[in-house]
Amino acid sequence: MSEHKQTENNPQGNDKKMVIAMGSIGLICALLIVLTYQGTFASIEKNKAEALEKAIFKVLPGISKTKAFQLNQDQTFSETNATDPKIPKVYAGYDSIGQLKGIAVQANGKGYGEVLNLLYGYDIDNQKIVGFYVLESKETPGIGDKIEKEDFLANFKAMDAALNDDFTKIKNEITTVKHGEKTNDWQIDGITGATITSRAVGNILSMSSNQWMPLIYKNKKSFLINDKSK
């Protein structure tokens, strides 16, 4: 009788113990992660800002100075120092005599793995994308991460991103085509074996360019430096 009782009681006791053990380990782990996040947040933000600054110089060839502009509620741009990531921002690049060379725009979207965080340079006068840089990606090593390699980046040396006649949309949508089938300047030559990642880049760029380029073109004047003394 007593033996029977024991076997009946034991599983229940074990269940409770298991739940308590898993729960408390989870709690300890959560606490550790939160503490680390809080502790490293400031330096990560600083590092990211520096990396972004470097990337802006990469996507806009020939610039020597950048300025951040935020998009206001009324669809105009104004200079900003805000660091809040929720405020939509673009970065203007100027050469050594203060002439506007282009605008760097950040674009996010879902890749194959996690979020793809991209930066591209837009030359307003020629209406072309002149540079492309992957800020953050967790794409498959050896396959999806080829979007950071020279061959793929060659797509973005002078990519056509002309606006239509009433300046509201991109004339030719940026699309990804199969590897070797690129015939026009607005197409991205895809990577064999990394179809999803290449398409994701195309979609992200297409969405972002349609959203930003008409706005940037319309407000072109607000990016110019008027102050000669600087």
Partner: protein, 218 residues
């Protein structure tokens, strides 16, 4: 006579360190049971991120950190974790420390974090860590577990640095980023590519095993 005696006692002291069980706990991971060269565990990161000495060193240290911290915590909690949920608990603990090192690495250098890419997150599934948790930390005291983790961690870092060093010297003509080879040196591009990882690992295993065989005979 006294000199001989002194020598003897010194020798005795040294050999007592060498024979001490806790030293053995440490040394075994570095050499006799080296995780890469002897246990042949954790092959994925050893082959994938060892294309340069810097990446190899960073990966080795990150793994050693996760190994040390998870071994400590698991050893502390070894009487508290029920047997049925032990693997789940270990994975949870390991994943936590991987997240911690992921943040820490971003804080140290974004570029380094980027060059290691997804492999930082993949430390979670590195079998060295889970195997040490299951085979050692869950059965031994905290002190011993620390020694074991340090030994294994240093052994893993050492192995990765060997592979990364050979690949970088031959493939890029540099070590830890310093170019020292003469300009006439033709770089072996294959060494930086994945295939070079396999070749290097095979050669190092060959050398390691021939040492072992010689020692056994002696």
């Amino acid at each position: 006579m006294s000199v001989i005696n002194q020598n003897k006692s010194e020798k005795g002291f040294l050999s007592s360190i060498a024979d001490h069980p806790s030293t053995d706990e440490f040394i075994k991971g570095v050499w006799r049971e080296n995780p890469v060269f002897v246990q042949v565990l954790g092959m994925c990161p050893s082959l994938a991120v060892s294309n340069s000495a810097k990446n190899a060193l960073a990966m080795g240290l990150a793994t050693a950190f996760v190994l040390l911290m998870s071994n400590i915590l698991i050893s502390l909690l070894r009487d508290f974790i029920p047997k049925q949920v032990r693997i789940a608990s270990y994975i949870l603990i390991i994943a936590t420390f991987v997240t911690v090192i992921d943040y820490a690495m971003q804080a140290i250098s974004i570029e380094l974090h980027k060059s290691l890419g997804a492999f930082i997150a993949l430390i979670v599934v590195n079998c060295i860590i889970l195997s040490r948790a299951e085979a050692f930390a869950s059965k031994n005291t905290v002190g011993k577990s620390i020694l074991d983790a340090l030994g294994m961690g240093i052994g893993f870092t050492f192995a990765l640095l060997c592979i990364g060093g050979v690949r970088e010297i031959l493939g890029s003509g540099s070590f830890l980023g310093f170019e020292f080879m003469p300009d006439s040196f033709e770089k072996w591009v294959i060494m930086v590519l994945p295939a070079g990882g396999f070749f290097t690992l095979a050669f190092l295993l060959l050398i390691f095993n021939s040492f072992k065989i010689k020692n056994n005979r002696a």
